[in-house]
């Protein structure tokens, strides 16, 4: 259902080979750990073995005495920052917390938290040095579970943490960092007016983003403080900003060169190793490389929150939703910042509901600090609401898609979080799902079909793009957006479309912080929309310049020059074919017409188009073992406009698969001492390829009017519906509803046996 064959555009909507493809499939692409510099030292991080402990002292003298060790750093090598929430990264940040997460200062708050780091002439010496650092810990009681952490008698992680958003302001510290409430209409009256009310409790577990490439960083600080960082991240400018703040450096002292990125999914929107590498380089005068093992990735980075939730939904007998309320307790990990607020904002967003309320709690506990993960917060609360809606549909005897269609948000519908929706394509996704052959395909014994929908805001934000026309008429398109999902292809295609030239003549590049203007990180499904808009404007800037150059050569006014298909034509009345000028011809004569041809756009883009998706999932449950197999899966999504449909489909499939893993098997297993027991892909069970059918995709295009080609963000919304789509399918296949994720075989078998007894 893409626009292939519609002949609307030359490049937009087609599926060319990606410009970065050859490097990636031949192994030539340089990822974070692939850089090597002369004299480079190997760094290693010492991590807390305790879930919660006071650090009484650190003695590195024996490590420093080991031949080959060049430096040991601790929190003492970093400035102690004030605790204040400021704008930065993807959401407001507290740099004191980021600093302490990078290297523990007074307390270790989770197992795996960095406590010290070593630089040595070899990795094995650095490794040996870690064992020679003596840390005197006072082990403290710890708490892992979110509800346990909320109890008044729970061990307190931050002695100065007073819950915000509560009146009157509490006087006693707790693990609840914040309470947030959203209200619309009168929920209590709404429930009174309802014929049917469904009220349920749900839990989800924290899950890791599971990117294949572990974190890696190399830093080299010169004697004058000028510092270069090579690393894999979702934002080179974010790395620069965070390192500058954590180390009291100026932005201009730092140059961050983005490496190729082997997956991020939100998990690479913060710093872990980069500030340590800079501090070690500062202390040794040498470049220092730090690379996490998979074990460290699991213990010390990501994940997203686990949660405990209560949902109540009221409806009329005819299926009209009257009221909904939601209470969310999200675990943030060791420092505040769970996505409880977006959890509150998103779950009811697909529905036109007069009365709604959502309350979110941001709760700390002794586990790794949460990082963003694809539509942060939304899959969790959506699991609860979309599961409850499925039960409501069953209670009302309604088709679950019909229930959603009856209440679907449209242009003008007010969302609980405030705004009225502009043009959106939710209804179109529901109708496409209903019409899809999957929805009416017969099911076999022990199989069930679940559906669920989801919403994500998508964002715009600041982006810079520059286009340089080379002397031979080829073009460089430079942006500041790391390419996670094929964005270089999309940038080149949009530039080629606007310029009217062959895609092969356009080379996209991700610039470093010193070679392109500020660009917000790759996140919020913003790049093809916002950076893409900057690329289109930069290309329009080029077109204007090309017309001016042609006008100069023709000695006419710019209004007498038309730009079409990469060629300047004289305006009406001047049809002499000999006076046509191609882009290559204008480029070749640039020196005579005013010098180099460079276009740019630096924008703060608003008007991101919200995205909605509807998923259909068929599962088969083995009633004797509780094992669930996904046998068919279809993703329907409004993407606005698919620039490169293959990468749009890839996003839809990838999001669905990550959500399926979240639903079925992924979880952190802790020992009684609060140590992670499954820090590896063997026992942290993400789905493998053979677990899944080919994920079918249906691209729905309801263009976003604020983008030149109608783009909406596509990367995040596909992870929102799968949790409930799977759970609803399991419930319909097995007759047993499990409201606690993951629906792993032991959990489902136990539920099946209880139901039988």
């Amino acid at each position: 259902m893409g626009n292939e064959g519609k002949q609307q555009f030359k490049w937009v909507g087609t599926r060319p080979v990606r410009p970065d493809g050859v490097d990636k499939v031949t192994g030539q692409a340089n990822y974070g750990a692939d850089f090597t510099l002369p004299g480079m030292l190997a760094g290693r991080v010492l991590r807390s073995p305790h879930a919660h402990a006071r650090i009484k002292s650190i003695d590195a003298s024996r490590a420093l005495a080991l031949p080959g060790v060049r430096a040991v750093i601790t929190a003492a090598d970093f400035p102690e920052l004030p605790s204040e929430v400021v704008a930065g990264g993807e959401s407001p940040v507290n740099y004191r917390h980021i600093s302490e997460n990078v290297i523990a200062r007074h307390k270790a708050l989770y197992e795996g938290q960095s406590v010290a780091a070593v630089a040595a002439i070899s990795a094995s010496i650095a490794e040996a040095a870690l064992a020679l650092i003596t840390v005197d810990y006072e082990v403290l009681p710890h708490v892992i579970d979110v509800r346990a952490a909320m109890r008044p008698d729970a061990p307190i992680l931050h002695e100065d943490m007073i819950t915000s958003g509560v009146e009157p302001k509490p006087t006693k510290a707790s693990n609840i960092a914040a309470r947030t409430e959203f209200n619309m209409g009168d929920v209590e009256q709404g429930f009174k007016d309802s014929d049917v009310v469904i009220e349920r409790e749900y839990t989800t577990q924290p899950v890791h983003q599971g990117y294949i490439e572990p974190h890696a960083a190399i830093a080299s600080m010169a004697a004058d403080g000028m510092t270069t960082i090579w690393c894999s991240s979702q934002g080179q400018f974010m790395i620069r900003e965070f390192c500058a703040k954590l180390l009291h450096l100026e932005d201009a002292q730092l140059r961050v060169i983005p490496a190729e990125i082997g997956g991020g999914f939100g998990g690479k929107t913060t710093v872990y190793l980069e500030p340590l590498a800079v501090a070690l380089s500062r202390k040794t005068g040498k470049p220092v490389k730090l690379v996490m093992s998979r074990d460290e990735v699991f213990r010390a980075s990501g994940p997203t929150s686990g949660a405990h939730m209560t949902v109540k939904i009221g409806a009329k007998r005819d299926g009209t939703l009257v009221a909904g309320s939601l209470e969310l307790a999200y675990q943030a990990g060791a420092f505040p910042g769970s996505p409880a607020v977006p959890g509150c904002m998103t779950a009811f967003a697909p529905y036109d509901m007069a009365n709604a309320k959502a309350v979110g709690y941001d709760v700390v506990s002794n586990r790794a600090k949460c990082a963003a993960y694809r539509a942060p917060g939304a899959p969790i609360s959506s699991f609860a609401v979309e599961s409850a809606l499925d039960e409501l549909a069953i209670e009302l005897g309604m088709d679950p898609l019909a229930l959603r269609l009856k209440n679907a948000a449209k242009e003008g519908t007010r969302a609980l979080y405030g705004p009225k929706f502009p043009i959106i394509g939710f209804v179109e996704t529901l109708e496409a799902a209903k019409a899809h052959p999957h929805y009416s395909a017969p099911l076999k014994a022990n199989q069930g079909r679940g559906v669920a929908s989801g919403f994500w805001f998508n964002i715009g934000g600041q982006s810079t793009a520059a286009i340089h026309i080379n002397e031979d008429g080829t073009a460089e398109v430079v942006t500041g957006s790391p390419d996670i999902g094929g964005s270089r292809a999309s940038m080149a295609m949009m530039a080629a479309e606007v310029l009217g030239i062959d895609l092969a003549k356009v080379k996209p590049l991700v610039g470093d912080t010193a070679s392109i203007g500020y660009t917000f990180l790759t996140g919020g499904s913003r790049v093809t929309f916002a950076t893409g808009k900057a690329v289109c404007e930069a290309a329009n800037d080029i077109v204007e310049q090309l017309r001016a150059r042609a006008a100069k050569l023709w000695k006419c006014g710019i209004e007498d020059v038309i730009w079409k298909d990469g060629v300047a034509y004289p305006a009406q009345g001047q049809t002499d074919a000999r006076t046509q000028l191609s882009l290559a011809e204008i480029a070749a004569s640039a020196a005579r017409t005013g010098g180099p041809i460079t276009g740019k756009a630096a924008l703060n883009v608003g008007g991101a188009g919200a995205a909605f998706g509807t998923h259909i999932c068929d599962v088969e449950v083995d009633p004797e073992t509780g094992r669930t197999s996904v046998v068919r899966y279809t993703v329907v999504q409004d993407v606005g406009r698919a620039i490169h449909p293959s990468y749009v489909e890839g996003q839809m499939q990838g999001g669905a698969v990550q959500g399926i893993g979240w639903a079925l098997n992924e979880e952190y297993v802790y020992s009684e001492q609060g140590q992670m027991q499954n820090a590896g892909f063997l026992d942290y069970r993400m789905p493998v390829a053979s677990d899944l059918p080919m994920i079918d995709t249906v691209i729905v295009e309801v263009p976003n009017p604020t983008h030149p080609f109608g783009v909406r963000g596509v990367g995040e919304v596909p992870i929102v519906p799968p949790l409930a789509a799977v759970a609803n399918a399991v419930a319909r296949a097995s007759g047993v509803r499990v409201n606690d994720l993951p629906i792993s075989p032991p959990r489902l078998l136990s539920a099946l046996q209880k139901a039988k007894a």
């Binding site: 079925l664 053979s690 032991p746 078998l749």
Partner: protein, 288 residues
């Protein structure tokens, strides 16, 4: 510093393992050993690689059965048509170890001597009544496969000993075996429960002999005698299968860990024993 030797004869290997009193580790495929060394879970001062010894790398027919070198890879086992036809259950187990890449290296000898209770290669061998030849400073000895593993990571091998080969006897004319494991995914995982069944039928289709082995439900793979009794004298019909499941469950002594719970492992052990018995029965019946 790690020493590395790759002898080409059994005698040379025995001498190398005997020569030093330092911690020498025997390597066949290395798919467990290298992971354990790298993670720091075990330490070693030297590695003796047995893959260059021809005797450990060959599959030979012997008295109607098969003698399998301890370092023969899973892929090689799977590509041996006669062996796969006679002992499909044993081969199913061996072929489940790791990924396609791991299959090019992983060996039965390593799978048995790693002494994991969840080893996929072991229950099938036990059910088949396989024996193995052990060599060491004291010469050669032959023991049943179920006598090797003692507890997780521990074997009954004396210092300096290693497994040379396995002997799978000739399968009876009306015999069949099968192995099933439970994992939450479809591959790249470790058995939460494993069950192997090997049985013989008489001309009328009645089971005359059965061996049932379970993995991952006790500190080592178990040969469950009571489960065998449940099948002998039956046509592996519903009542026999229920008795088999009950006997299998009664034998379980699992733990709660990251891979499964006691209740789950116990319950599923019965389910897999039944399912493996049905497959083994069909295989035996379909034999000429």
């Amino acid at each position: 510093m790690l020493t590395f030797n790759n002898p080409t004869t059994v005698e040379e290997a025995v001498a190398l393992l005997q020569k030093t009193d330092s911690r020498q580790r025997v390597l066949a495929g290395g798919t467990d050993l290298l992971v354990q060394l790298r993670s720091g879970r075990i330490q070693a001062q030297g590695v003796v690689d047995l893959k260059r010894i021809p005797e450990l790398r060959t599959i030979r027919t012997e008295n109607g059965g098969f003698r399998i070198g301890a370092a023969v890879s899973g892929a090689e086992l799977g590509e041996h048509p006669a062996l796969s036809t006679m002992w499909p259950g044993v081969i199913e187990g061996a072929r489940l170890i790791g990924s396609t890449q791991i299959q090019g290296r992983a060996s039965l000898g390593g799978n048995v001597c790693n002494a994991s209770p969840a080893a996929d290669g072991v229950p099938g061998l036990i059910a088949a009544g396989a024996t193995c030849t052990i060599v060491g400073p004291g010469g050669r000895r032959v023991v049943a496969v179920d006598a090797i593993a003692v507890s997780p990571g521990k074997t009954s091998l004396a210092p300096g000993e290693f497994v040379v080969d396995f002997f799978l006897p000739a399968q009876a004319a009306k015999g069949g075996d099968a192995y099933l494991r439970f994992i939450p995914r479809t591959e790249m995982d470790i058995a939460v429960v494993g069950a192997a069944v090997n049985l013989l039928l008489d001309a009328s289709g009645v089971c005359t002999h059965a061996r049932v082995a379970l993995g991952a439900v006790a500190p080592r793979a178990l040969l469950v005698e009571a489960a065998s009794h449940a099948l002998v004298g039956t046509r592996v019909e519903a009542a026999a299968l229920e008795a088999l499941a009950a006997a299998a469950r009664a034998a379980c002594a699992p733990i709660n860990d990251k891979r499964g719970t006691i209740e789950f492992r116990t319950q599923v052990a019965g389910v897999l024993a039944k399912r493996a018995a049905i497959i083994a029965y069909e295989r035996a019946r379909s034999r000429a």
